[in-house]
């Protein structure tokens, strides 16, 4: 039988109950009004009452974030391979890849509207810009940290540089790429929400960014926190998806480590 503490979901649940309980008690004791700090119970109620809109908004944001993350994965990996191909290319272009990390998205977001129009295009673009750098940096690191002995092995086998790339360097960089993808998963959600602040289309109710903005304008702090909670859950969900992908892909790396019997 499993000991209680071994059940995966139990420790986070316990800490959740403890923390929300503490927040609830302190807000009650300090008698803070709801518009300054909503009680967890009020947030839970808002989640329940507005479940349908919030789920729709989360779906709306989730689709955009996954598209942004997908673009980051694809273009980030391709960019990393290009950068890894020659030190000169790396020196010439890597500083511009760093640009993606430092770009204040909120400042260039209005330009995204001009380039991609209002709606999903600009939101996905914002998600992409915010999430692509960790993928470039990690994949590049993986491509450049190939074991020198393995490179010697391929040289001795007179492998072509394409073979070395596709049969050694790229597969060897996959764990690094997946690490980047995990970091990027949360950023993709943040990017999509920031994108929604400037470019969301309200026709179908909009995404989490719009939900937050409306709740702020209506001075509904409980609803603001409920929407923020949904964005955290969305980030967690995408993180789990990526971690699952990570585990399936890296199964071979870790598959039933050898044990002397």
């Amino acid at each position: 039988m499993k000991a209680l503490y071994q059940i995966v979901w139990l420790p986070p649940l316990m800490s959740f109950v403890l923390i929300t309980g503490l927040i609830e008690c302190s807000i009650t004791l300090m008698d803070l009004p709801a518009y300054l700090a909503p009680r967890p119970s009020a947030v839970a109620l808002a989640l329940w009452v507005h479940a349908e809109e919030l789920l729709k908004a989360t779906w709306h944001t989730g689709v955009a974030a996954l598209l942004g993350l997908g673009m980051s994965a694809l273009l980030g990996a391709l960019l990393a391979i290009t950068l890894a191909s020659h030190p000169l290319i790396r020196r010439a272009f890597y500083p511009y890849a760093v640009f993606f990390q430092t770009v204040p998205i909120i400042a260039i977001a209005p330009m995204l509207v001009i380039w991609f129009g209002y709606g999903q295009g600009a939101v996905v673009a914002a998600s992409f810009i915010v999430s692509v750098f960790p993928i470039i940096a990690n994949t590049l690191n993986g491509l450049l940290s190939t074991d020198p002995a393995l490179l010697d092995l391929f040289r001795i086998a007179k492998a072509s540089s394409l073979h070395t790339l596709f049969k050694l360097r790229i597969p060897g960089a996959i764990p690094h790429f997946l690490t980047g993808l995990r970091v990027a998963s949360g950023l993709a959600v943040i990017g999509a929400i920031v994108g929604e602040f400037v470019a969301d289309s309200y026709e179908d109710g909009g995404g989490i960014g719009t939900a937050v903005e409306i709740a702020l304008k209506e001075q509904r702090t409980d609803l603001v926190f409920a929407a923020v909670l949904m964005s955290s859950l969305l980030g967690l969900l995408i993180f789990w998806l990526v971690s699952g992908l990570n585990q399936i892909t890296l199964r071979r790396w870790h598959l039933g480590e050898f044990k002397d019997s």
């Binding site: 977001a109 330009m111 509207v113 001009i114 470019a199 903005e213």
Partner: protein, 321 residues
Amino acid sequence: MDGASFRIIGLVMVMLISSACKNASDDQRVGAPFKADIQLNWVPEPEFGGYYAARDSGLFDQEHLEVELKPGGPGIPTLQLIESGQVTFGITTADNILIARDRGADLVALFALYQNLPEGIMVHAERGLGALEDVFKGGTLAMEPGTPTFKVLEKRFGFHHLHVVPYTNNLAPFLHDPLLAQQCYLTAEPIAARRAGASPQVFPISDTGYNPYSGVLVTKRDVLIKHKEEVRRLIRALKAGWTAYLKDPTPANQTMHQLNPTMDEATFEASSIVQTPFIIGMPATPIGQMNLERWQTLSGQLVELGLIQPSDPQSAFLPSE
């Protein structure tokens, strides 16, 4: 003359001026002046002209007040800052005050700058639209979601025939798209759009009958109860400040231009001219004055929009003396 002499002369002058001020007020007020800060809801611009005029021409000092004006920006949570006691006074709109009161904040409006709402929908004149309702027949409308104005327009005209998108205080999408309409302050965006080469046409929101006071100075009831006398002096100084600003906005505009250099002096001037009728009102109303009937109308409208529960707005504002 060397620097030291300058400094001594300067010091003497400061002493003379401050003693003169003291003499003017010593008869009624002793001790340190009442310290207060006012949270503006945007960067310095003509909407706050009277505040800077009052500060720079010593009107606050005359009332034995030590006032700090805190410039704001997008997303500044003015009402939360007041309620949590981080600032004493703030500037917001009447509808936000009623919504905050509905959520449990005991706020009181003290002084309303704009008798009529200087907000509108700006379109390209080339479209040849005749009235506000025509805006909703097609094209794109850029607007912050969730505001009472947004809800008023949605309820009145419906958003079924046009594409509604966010507005982020950036004119580029409007300049870029001839079919894009956007929310605006009549005192700001149309001037900027015209300077950028567009020919904007503006439909005021108040055409719909939704016309809350705006540029409203607000504080917590606790402050009002504890400092009734100081609040009265502050309002007096503001009235004097605004009267001075309406007479000659240039000195305050210059001060504000230095604090907000991205807005040039010509725009300051144009904007202060545009805003004057909104301050004076139709029919002309004494500066800053509010009446119960307008608050009741607003309260009813917000109830209708589903934003607040019905309540009597009598205690929401400080009637003029």
